[in-house]
Symmetry: C2
Subunit: 384 residues, 2 copies
């Protein structure tokens, strides 16, 4: 497991230089030298590398009056594309984006993750090929690949670690398999983490740097943004809140083998069971709630209370400023959110909830794909 170490960085990278240009903080070589203190010769090497890779292009400044106009440097979002995939238990979404994270083409389809990593990833790469063709781009344009998976992932190596619902994937090197077709950096992360990254980037990055993203559907998980960065934990297992004990769960047996887990009372299968529905999905429950079914509405609100009890503990522990509720069951409208809020406000100390917002996902279905693209852009382009 790779860990970030404390202490300051010892220099300015090419990625740092790209970031200054991309964010508009520097538009000339002179700006870059002034901002970084780098020697002109060192800066010239960074800029030449970015020009050669096509990430940056030069343009004469038309607005200049008299004298030799300084050469402006501009970020080239079209210099390449990113491939992003959100691989779920039964459904996978995919996109091709530009280097600013704007989607150029996307699709989604049913695919069973239990078919194993080679089958699923080869299918993913075939869909990427279709999307590249639709976007009129080629394999040579691909600069990086970002993939979300529904289980714990050792982020540094891109290997799932003991994922409960992904037979055959344990310790499989996703980057190695993907890089055989696309020899570019491949980043792999837990799906709820990429949703948290996407939601934070889409809606909150200028307002809140301590955020929890809670996904409620077939399972329950949480992505943690702490001081602007995703918190993955020592084994990549952070945010696994579905198996925290809740007092309302009694002796309900969970798929993990333990009793009293949050998932065993508040995830979609548990709600379906309480309502006497067979083989019902989140979508079926959402439709019942939207149709005004009282039992379904009550069951979803009670599930919200159970989730809120766990989130109240998370609020005491982490003191976030925003909790975002997403996942398929969040589309049931206000019932889930109301239950969550009720339990959080009943159980938290005043200081931690004075400014706390508990809201539904704004990025919605796009959060995961946007997050996968953002993850790749932040880590690979900026750190090169």
């Amino acid at each position: 497991v790779t860990r970030r170490r404390g202490g300051p960085r010892s220099g300015t990278s090419t990625g740092d230089v790209l970031s200054l240009i991309r964010d508009g903080r520097a538009t000339t070589r002179g700006d870059l030298v002034n901002l970084t203190g780098l020697a002109r010769s060192t800066m010239a090497q960074h800029v030449d590398a970015l020009l050669a890779q096509g990430f940056v292009f030069e343009a004469a400044d038309q607005a200049s009056t008299g004298g030799r106009p300084p050469i402006r440097l501009a970020f080239n979002a079209g210099a390449g594309v990113v491939l992003a995939a959100d691989v779920g238990a039964t459904r996978t979404s995919l996109a091709v984006t530009d280097l600013a994270g704007v989607s150029l083409a996307e699709t989604s389809a049913e695919v069973d993750i239990a078919d194993g990593p080679e089958t699923v990833l080869d299918w993913v790469m075939d869909r990427f090929a279709d999307l590249l063709a639709a976007a009129e781009r080629s394999d040579a344009d691909v600069r990086a690949v970002g993939i979300g998976l529904p289980g714990p992932v050792e982020f540094a190596s891109g290997r799932p670690t003991s994922p409960p619902i992904m037979p055959g994937w344990d310790d499989f090197s996703v980057p190695d398999h993907v890089a055989a077709r696309h020899p570019v950096p491949v980043l792999v992360d837990n799906d709820v983490n990429i949703m948290a990254i996407g939601e934070h980037h889409r809606a909150w990055r200028s307002q809140a740097d301590d955020l929890l993203f809670v996904k409620v559907g077939t399972g329950i998980g949480c992505g943690i943004v702490a001081a602007g960065a995703i918190h993955r934990g020592a084994d990549g297992a952070a945010g696994d809140i579905g198996h925290i004990r809740v007092s309302g769960a009694g002796d309900a047996i969970c798929r993990c083998g333990n009793t009293g887990c949050l998932e065993a009372v508040a995830a979609a299968p548990a709600i379906a069971s309480q309502l006497g529905l067979k083989a019902a999905t989140s979508r079926d429950i959402v439709e019942l709630v939207r149709a005004g079914n009282t039992a379904a509405t009550q069951a979803v609100r009670q599930a919200g209370r159970e989730i809120g009890t766990v989130l109240a503990a998370a609020v005491s522990l982490l003191n976030p400023s925003v909790i975002v509720v997403g996942g398929s069951l969040s589309q049931a409208g206000d019932s889930l959110l109301a239950g969550i809020r009720e339990a959080i406000y009943a159980r938290s100390l005043p200081l931690a909830t004075t400014d706390l917002r508990v809201v539904t996902s704004l990025a919605g279905q796009d959060a995961a794909l946007r997050g996968a693209a953002t993850l790749v852009l932040q880590h690979q382009l900026m750190a090169s």
Copy 2:
């Protein structure tokens, strides 16, 4: 509230240069230029500033053979001192340390935090004067002050925010009051945070960057080290686990006004009450356990189980690699730790506990003072 923003830094600071010298990564100006890519003229400005402040001194390299020997640069731990204080509810510890965090003189005494900030801080500064005299240093040697307080603190401003056991301290500017006597940077943080920083720095920084420090005494709190940095949360209230609901608490009323809080069953006053002791402190309970009193041993172990239930949720949420148990009740020996471990391992998923260590504090009573000094050294010297 100040928030860290994502994105790369735009340059190398004088503090970064000092850090390279202090850690032994650079011993000459040439090393510094090579490591950072800075222009020689820029680097010369940084080094001149460090020489002028006395943080760095020059020494001719004796080992060089032939030619002009390069001038070595060395960190000067004696260039100044840091004042560190751990202000508790009824007892305060203080130290004067050098710039490497090594204690030069220290003391502790009873002082009631309810006497208010001006009385307490003036008393603290009188003790600092005594310690400076004992260490044969003067006010002019003081480079920074670090103070821990037993309540939530807005770290950026150094103001306590609605601290429950600190009448008169709410929103009081500790740095302004201290700086009137010592016009240097003053950093203020929650006491459990500085203990977590001290413990991490003393015992774990080369091994574990995701650590929880749990303080168990009159109250119960938690310091969170995530990816090597302290996590304070949006309002400085992170780690306030004493008021998380535990099922074993029943309707026990907590000092916070809510029922069912962890503190209401597992902190020292609750244990004393269960044992029928009047006005008993953590120390009294520890002595009973050490003397082999069965009721006290059982009560402490049960308190450990209740704390462990909350920590099991924290393990699922944060996936730390180390949990350190400190505070006055941790001196009761293995009973508390055994109860904590029992509950954590009963309730956590295998992945998050495979490599998890649950241990007693190694830094012990020194953790807080060491943490206050480390906090100041990391933030003020390195960020200048």
